[in-house]
Symmetry: C2
Subunit: 253 residues, 2 copies
């Protein structure tokens, strides 16, 4: 089995504990959800397609996916990355058609949640639901920060910022070791994320490499100096709304 499909048992609880203190019962409830029947998708597969009716909330359990939107002439913008423990659109039930697609970047495993799940969580595990809302608000804040990234930052700053953000997010779910993590996406995908051409992404990565900040080699990203990288990126982790521990984590690394 691909390493990408393995579910880490307490990954979600670990993340949510940054947002609210969870009781043993909360963790137990999370665990039951985590063990449910899951679905897998191969890389490049569209999990959700623009124009489809929503069909429920997806809880990502393993692998990377991304949300993207295409223009009529074929240009593509990647709008967000879904990492293990992420929810795709907490409120999905409300709208009638998806205005974007979601694609697997690696082999992906996820499980579906229905409106009933959230109803029952709201009444029976309010703390947990509170943490899910928090997580949702952080997702919105990330979206805003990407807007800042594309609107204001230069190529180097943009890429550096993205890498800082991914590092912190992956660290929170225990998928970053030291300064390194798996970055299973091509430079074309990176380009569609940061709004640059693929060749300029290549050049910019080279630049970052030559400054001894990071190295991306065969899908593995190594950060040599997180402090320096975040200062190049003008990275301020406040928008990730981590509790004290997490902020501290982001500061060191």
């Amino acid at each position: 089995m691909s390493k990408w499909l393995e579910r880490q048992p307490d990954l979600l609880a670990r993340k949510l504990e940054h947002f609210a203190r969870l009781s043993p019962e909360d963790i137990e409830a999370l665990d039951r959800i985590w063990r449910r029947k899951s679905v897998t998708a191969p890389p490049q597969d569209d999990i959700v397609r623009q124009g489809d009716p929503p069909g429920g909330v997806r809880l990502m359990q393993a692998g990377w996916a991304c949300r993207y939107r295409m223009l009529a002439d074929g240009r593509r913008q990647i709008l967000s990355f879904f990492l293990p423990g992420d929810l795709c659109d907490l409120n999905n039930f409300v709208l009638r058609r998806m205005d974007h697609s979601v694609m697997a970047l690696t082999p992906v495993r996820y499980t579906m949640l229905g409106a009933e799940d959230f109803d029952s969580l709201t009444t029976r595990r309010p703390r947990l639901m509170h943490a899910l809302w928090w997580d949702n608000l952080v997702a919105m804040a990330i979206q805003r920060e990407w807007t800042v990234n594309l609107g204001q930052r230069s190529a180097v700053e943009r890429l550096a910022h993205l890498l800082c953000e991914l590092y912190v997010r992956l660290h929170v779910i225990g998928l970053a070791n030291g300064g390194a993590f798996d970055l299973p996406i091509t430079q074309v995908e990176l380009a569609d994320t940061v709004g640059l051409s693929p060749v300029h992404v290549s050049r910019t990565l080279k630049d970052l490499r030559e400054r001894n900040l990071v190295q991306l080699h065969r899908g593995k990203l190594e950060i040599f100096d997180f402090q320096a990288l975040s200062s190049v990126a003008l990275f301020r982790p406040d928008y990730l709304h981590l509790a004290a521990e997490g902020a501290h984590l982001a500061a060191n690394a």
Copy 2:
């Protein structure tokens, strides 16, 4: 009194009816909220400041405001516009500090909503609450579309797209007459919205003017050919999730 501070009575109901069929009781409930004690702010005033605790949800009643975020070196990105009938962050209660600021662009009037309001709406006026969630999801979709805008579109496309979007949004609340509406922001603010320099905004507006698409003169925007403008912008109104009527509206103009 400034024209910007006048509350249009059924503006909010008009918008929400695009999202859900409202009962007379729903409309009555909306109306009671709309008539509450309101607060005003002068142009340029920060209504919410980055770092502050949230302090409740604001329902915009009149005037324009914007959400923005600053980088350490002074660059500013405008993240969204708040128009009459918009809610600032439905879930605000959850987080502890604001990661962005909100500033009045014109004289602004708004009213505060507390968690109790939403609790009571959820139990007593579920249809209405549903419409508010819908509105919130549309706000998120707009944020994503801005990401697309900044990441993929050229200067002309970007500005054209912004104008199309504003036209549709203003039309929905009855603030667009024919092809024209008030656009009470400077070119510097436009620039910080679309991630261009102010002088390039000026040139790009000139370009659009010379193509006989739009004219912006003394805070009044006139759209001469919405079809042509949206095709220049690659504007697809799907992300605004209007009901059939609204989609049709966007198509014609």
